[in-house]
């Protein structure tokens, strides 16, 4: 069982009280506990079971405008005492920083509406195995599939955030997730791999095992016999797995830290048009059972829905207390990042998006870390399909796609197929004018 709020509170109070006793003017403690159980299955056989039990504490201490922090998973009382003493000593000699402070009191979260983020259901390992068997059977129905790997994880966690200014709150959450990876081979060709997964707060919301198994197999076999194409300028469609990545780039580029430090290609672009007029982007923390839903941010600041981009115009940065003070802006509860971040769906159907151009490259996977947030340059390895007149013609691999986010953002057309599968979600996306490097 995951530890209850009373236990976590006791530990948090102990840390905050001791820090204050030792000379801290302010202190914030986070105590968290999580238990997760995973079963991995491979080629119809049990491969691995893994049980994880993690209790940890994080403490930040302030002496005026001086600040430092400790974290520990060794909750032995003597050890915690030594650590807190060390933290206070470190704080004393760390130089002052005028922007160091706890959040403004009037911004702290007070009322909390239940978002149903915790499911008490428990699924035993043998039931997980039944699920995984069924997923593998479904994948193996395709004869080209030569290898399957599946995994099921149940994870429960609880935490408390306590601060010397009186903030005290925390909550339980749960995640149930399963995945199926399939490997296909036909004759003497090279192998290909693809996957499907499901991840939800509540057990009964998971996809059925045969759904993830069949989809993984279908995706994998479609990739067999890929071709390398010529280098060219071509319009590109990003599958929903990849299109959501544009939002992650946006989130990093408009974080108050990137803006204040001047290391973002979107610096000084507030209230300017950075996307085409049809684009609206929301960050909504209060979706019931939402994978990114949160009651407050990592500093205890209340989170409200933000329309980050309105008809292509950038309306908000993502602001925490420290960089907010530096930028002379109020925290909007985004310490720790976004919650449920998504593009409003577009007006064109998926089918029609495929037909918009005579030839389109449809990307299902990218590899590499080719996003430069300072310059906006983008270059990654990619895998996908050539689409001609709306029809998938053949798989494509060993190519790269490149562009610059400043141009790419302004050339986005979105389909109407938004779904909430991740915490960050986007519909299928067309971007004109990117360069493919191949042969």
């Amino acid at each position: 069982m995951v530890k209850d709020q009373d236990y976590l509170k006791k530990t948090a109070f102990f840390c905050v009280d001791l820090a204050k006793k030792l000379g801290a003017t302010d202190a914030t403690a986070v105590v968290g506990h999580s238990i997760s159980e995973t079963v991995n299955f491979r080629n119809r056989k049990l491969d691995e079971s893994d049980r994880s039990d993690s209790l940890g504490v994080g403490l930040e201490t302030y002496i005026g405008k001086k600040k430092s922090s400790i974290t520990s998973s060794n909750l032995n009382e003597d050890n915690i005492k030594t650590l807190i003493e060390r933290c206070i000593e470190t704080t004393k000699i760390t130089p002052e920083d005028e922007f160091n402070s706890l959040p403004d009191k009037d911004l702290l979260a007070t009322k909390i509406n239940d978002l149903n983020l915790y499911d008490d259901d428990h699924i035993e390992n043998n039931e997980k195995i039944e699920y995984l068997k069924e997923a593998e059977e479904a994948a193996l129905e395709k004869k080209e599939i030569i290898n399957t790997e599946t995994s099921f994880t149940e994870s429960k966690s609880n935490f408390i955030l306590a601060s010397s200014d009186g903030f005290l709150n925390g909550y339980k959450s749960s995640t149930f997730s399963a995945s199926c990876v399939a490997i296909a081979k036909k004759f003497d060709d090279k192998m290909e791999r693809d996957y499907e997964f499901t991840s939800t707060c509540h057990l009964h919301d998971m996809l059925r095992p045969n759904q993830i198994g069949s989809l993984a197999a279908k995706r994998t076999t479609q990739k067999l016999n890929p071709q390398k194409i010529e280098s060219e300028k071509i319009s590109i469609i990003f599958d929903r797995r990849i299109s959501k990545g544009m939002l992650s780039i946006l989130a990093s580029a408009i974080s108050a830290s990137s803006i204040a430090r001047g290391t973002s290609f979107l610096k000084d672009k507030i209230n300017e048009k950075v996307f085409s007029s049809s684009i609206n982007i929301y960050d909504k923390p209060n979706i019931v059972k939402g994978l990114g839903s949160r009651y407050f941010d990592s500093e205890g600041v209340k989170m409200e829905e933000l329309k980050l981009v309105d008809q292509g115009v950038l309306k908000h940065y993502l602001i925490d207390t420290y960089y907010g003070k530096k930028l002379n802006l109020k925290s909007n509860g985004r310490s720790g990042g976004t919650s449920n971040l998504y593009f409003e769906k577009g007006s064109i159907s998926y089918k029609n998006l495929l037909k918009l151009n005579q030839r389109t490259l449809y990307i299902t996977e990218t590899i590499g870390h080719g996003s430069n947030l300072v310059t906006g340059d983008y270059s990654v390895g990619a895998t996908g399909f050539m689409v001609e007149n709306g029809v998938f013609k053949y798989p494509v691999s060993e190519i790269t796609i490149a562009g610059n986010f400043n141009d790419m953002f302004k050339n986005i057309t979105l389909a109407d197929d938004l779904e909430f599968k991740y915490s960050t979600n986007a519909p299928t996306m067309l971007i004109e004018g990117m360069v493919v490097a191949g042969k």
Binding site: S69, I367, G381, T400
Partner: protein
């Protein structure tokens, strides 16, 4: 040495008893105990942005039978907790029977000293040095817009207790010093990053103003990129510089030669043992025995002594990297490559210091031989798809080569290739082998472990460069 049985109701005898009872009918397994301390001090934007100290303690109990691994970990070292873990393992493996393999080789050789780098340099002197780094770098001119400098240090003490009471221990120091610079000129911004580190005290790396060289290098890379033009797109010849660009080998070849992917036949290399996978003259080793290097280990996380493993000899595939589980199932021996990020993670076969050895050509000869291509000097990072063999890495410093001469710097571009075939495209191997500066972290299955790479300059006849200029 940490006494893991101090301050707990669990005695060493209790632990040994639980371990032996649990692992009696298994093929392998152990109790892994870990006590780690780490610090991170970051200067950014002219200020000490954060100073964090971390103390972690925990155990992982593992039982292996046949192909099945049962693992349970917790940060509560107590009788109750270990018993619960043991029950969990037994219930997973209840229908399986194995024969415990007591054999484990031993070594007396240590590849780094038992030091605690965090305590060897005072916090005050670290804070002062970061300030000095900031002032020195900013003094390079008004184009310096941002400087970030950081120290990170770690002291990890591990103990492995096997069934029958055999005990193996290791103490692993690790430090890293990193500088990142952002420059702005005529509205154009670029960054440069450089770092050094390894398994010694901070001062071994920072003495004699060595830190200034790190600042100079970060500034130089950013300055070069300020003058960069868009990179070309398409297939061309690529010359890789010595040292850190060996992450090409790490991604293209290294991961595909890890035992687990080959036992499971999911690696593009699984049926190529004994065959030619690289041009003649290409020899690649994975060496955990280099003194004080970031990827070195005295013993791995299963207790096996580290070694120098020949992966590819003169172009022929000779060995995979093995942990005990995969070695047993593939009828071979562990190469001391069983590693885990921490007690929270299962053991996997991993790389240590992966190196391509010297050939006989000079870098000048290589560049002279290229009509049109690129010269890649430094990379940001890479990634590979084990099954298809496709890999990428991102240039952070590269130049065009025109008619045998190095030309203008080009913008960061991704290079993409095919692992099993790329080393057959290596036509010249240089004579200038260099180790990387000690900054690599390799990710696999969500676990990060410190690694090293090394290579001489090499000429690759055909690779796809992912620029924007057609």
């Amino acid at each position: 040495m940490t006494d893991f049985f101090n301050k707990t109701d669990l005695s060493r005898n209790d632990a040994e008893k639980i371990i032996s009872e649990t692992l009696n009918n298994c093929d392998d397994g152990e109790l892994y105990l870990e006590n780690s301390k780490s610090e991170s001090i970051v200067l950014d934007d002219d200020k000490i942005k954060s100073s964090n100290y971390s103390s972690d303690l925990g155990y992982g109990l593992r039982a292996v039978t046949g192909e099945v691994v049962a693992y349970s970990h917790s940060n509560e070292i107590s009788k109750n907790s270990l018993k619960q873990s043991a029950d969990n393992l037994s219930s997973t493996l209840k229908s399986k029977k194995g024969v415990y393999n007591h054999e484990i080789s031993k070594t007396n050789e240590k590849f780094y000293k038992d030091i605690n780098p965090i305590e060897e340099k005072s916090l005050q002197s670290k804070l002062e040095l970061l300030k000095e780094v900031n002032n020195y770098t900013r003094a390079k001119g008004g184009i310096v817009q941002q400087v970030t400098a950081s120290f990170s240090g770690e002291h990890k003490s591990i103990e492995i207790i096997r069934s029958g009471g055999e005990v193996l221990t290791d103490i692993r120091p690790l430090i890293r010093f990193n500088v990142s610079v952002m420059l702005e000129k005529n509205g154009k911004k670029e960054t440069g990053v450089y770092g050094i580190g390894g398994r010694q005290s901070y001062d071994e790396y920072l003495k004699e103003g060595n830190w200034k060289k790190v600042c100079d290098e970060a500034f130089r890379i950013a300055s070069v990129n300020l003058e960069s033009k868009p990179a070309p797109a398409g297939e061309m010849k690529v010359v890789l510089g010595p040292g850190w660009p060996a992450i090409l080998i790490h991604e293209a070849i290294g991961h595909g030669l890890e035992g687990d992917f080959n036992r499971k036949k999911t690696s593009a290399f699984h049926n190529l043992m004994g065959q030619r996978v690289a041009s003649e003259g290409v020899t690649i080793v994975d060496d955990g025995t280099l003194h004080n290097r970031r990827g070195s280990l005295t013993i791995d996380d299963e207790g096996t002594p580290s070694e120098k493993t020949i992966l590819i000899e003169n172009g022929i595939l000779k060995n995979f990297m093995q942990d005990r589980l995969n070695a047993r199932l593939m009828n071979t021996r562990s190469t001391g490559s069983g590693r885990r990020e921490s007690y929270k993670h299962v053991v996997l076969p991993r790389m240590r210091n992966t190196m391509m050895l010297n050939g006989k050509y000079s870098q000048e000869e290589m560049i002279k031989s290229v009509d049109k291509g690129i010269f890649a000097v430094s990379f940001g990072g890479g990634q590979v798809d084990i099954t298809s063999g496709k890999f990428v890495f991102n240039c952070t410093e590269a130049y065009e080569i025109i008619n045998g001469k190095i030309g203008a710097p080009i913008k960061g571009a991704t290079l993409i290739g095919d692992g099993p075939s790329i080393l057959k495209e290596v036509s010249l191997v240089g004579n200038n082998m260099m180790l990387d500066p000690g900054i690599g972290t390799c990710g696999k299955a969500g676990q990060g472990v410190p690694v090293g790479v090394a290579q001489p300059s090499i000429l690759i006849d055909k690779m796809t460069v992912g620029g924007t200029q057609l």
